[in-house]
């Protein structure tokens, strides 16, 4: 899977969130705010293909979490992104 290239991360008042690029008509209920880990995961996905397992491994390397917790966090984040059409 990979990131939807039309979705970009922006920061307002120090809060990172995802927004559809070029979508100047922002609807507040469609803004997806991210916490620090989620923002890091989004950056880490980069522009290319990735698998949840790849992300979980990187998460373990970067943060002090167990493999099990990393897999669970990545899976939850990916479901959330898919629900909002942020992946393709």
């Amino acid at each position: 899977m990979r990131r939807n290239k039309n979705i970009v991360m922006r920061t307002v008042c120090g809060v990172p969130f995802l927004i559809r690029e070029g979508d100047a008509n922002v609807e507040m209920d469609k803004i997806i705010t991210l916490n620090e880990t989620a923002a890091w995961l989004w950056e880490t996905m980069g522009g290319g293909d990735f698998t949840p397992e790849m992300l979980a491994e990187k998460l373990v390397a970067e943060y002090d979490v167990t493999k099990e917790d990393a897999r669970r966090d990545v899976s939850a984040f990916i479901s959330n992104l898919q629900e909002h059409g942020c992946l393709e």
């Binding site: 922006r10 920061t11 307002v12 008042c13 120090g14 809060v15 927004i19 979508d23 100047a24 008509n25 922002v26 609807e27 507040m28």
Partner: protein, 247 residues
């Protein structure tokens, strides 16, 4: 309805605007802001705009759990005018934020909260505490011009049910999120903590290519003003504690 269009020119937030309306209520509302300069913006209201405003008011009241209420078309027109004006002002860096604004010694404080929390009551305590040092800028829907160095808050004709406002502008020092409590205390907030409140209380047009502009203006604003969270009761000392907590 008379079938005649009414028109007037006003200067609001330093922008000269011509307002063409079906009823005279909005023209009377704006009377203190009359101007003889050349208008930069033109706002004209149709019957459809007024009907759409009625639908929006109904939806809002339902969302807030308020009973149904029939507003007069002339009143709905005042809202329709402000919606159009606020939308057209965004590209000039002007935001409409719901809140009660008072200036003390030439610096403005904007209190914001959900309707019915007691913003106006708290600001009344400030007027009583500071007397002639205080100027009521706007009790309901002020405009904020977000500049590169400072942000300025303006009085506007849309000033709440007690019509408390002054046709003036003052640098905005702080935005305070107000919560009712039994005791009084105030603490600084970082912008990220304040963002949900700012998004909730800032006018964001549903139709219009300006959403990102609003977000970017809020981002700039957050670097120019201080944010606080105020817990307060309705005793006079609430105003003193709030003021001292910001100085």
């Amino acid at each position: 309805m008379s079938g005649m269009m009414l028109s007037g020119i006003y200067k609001i937030a330093d922008v000269v605007v011509q307002i063409t309306s079906l009823y005279d209520e909005v023209q009377n509302l704006c009377a203190d802001y009359r101007s003889d300069e050349k208008p930069l913006l033109h706002i004209s209201i149709s019957q459809e705009d007024i009907e759409a405003e009625g639908v929006k008011s109904d939806q809002e009241r339902e969302r807030e759990g308020l009973p149904e209420f029939h507003f007069e078309a002339s009143y709905l027109e005042t809202l329709a005018v402000y919606r159009k004006l606020a939308t057209q002002l965004i590209p000039s860096g002007v935001l409409l934020m719901h809140g009660s604004v008072i200036a003390v010694d030439g610096e403005a404080y904007l209190f914001t909260a959900l309707s019915g929390t007691g913003k106006s009551t708290h600001v009344r305590l400030w007027r009583e505490l500071f007397g002639e040092r205080a100027v009521m800028i706007n009790d309901d829907k002020p405009l904020i011009r977000v500049g590169s160095e400072t942000s300025i808050v303006y009085g506007t004709p849309w000033d709440g049910k007690h019509h408390l406002s002054t046709n003036t502008s003052v640098p905005l020092r702080a935005i305070i999120h107000l919560q009712r409590d039994t005791t009084n205390h105030i603490e600084p907030q970082i912008p990220a903590q304040m963002l949900p409140t700012l998004l909730q209380q800032t006018f964001l047009p549903k139709n219009g290519a300006v959403g990102m502009q609003v977000l970017s203006l809020l981002d700039t604003l957050s670097r120019q003003v201080k944010f606080y969270n105020l817990h307060c009761n309705m005793e006079p000392e609430a105003a003193r504690i709030a003021y001292e907590g910001m100085h």
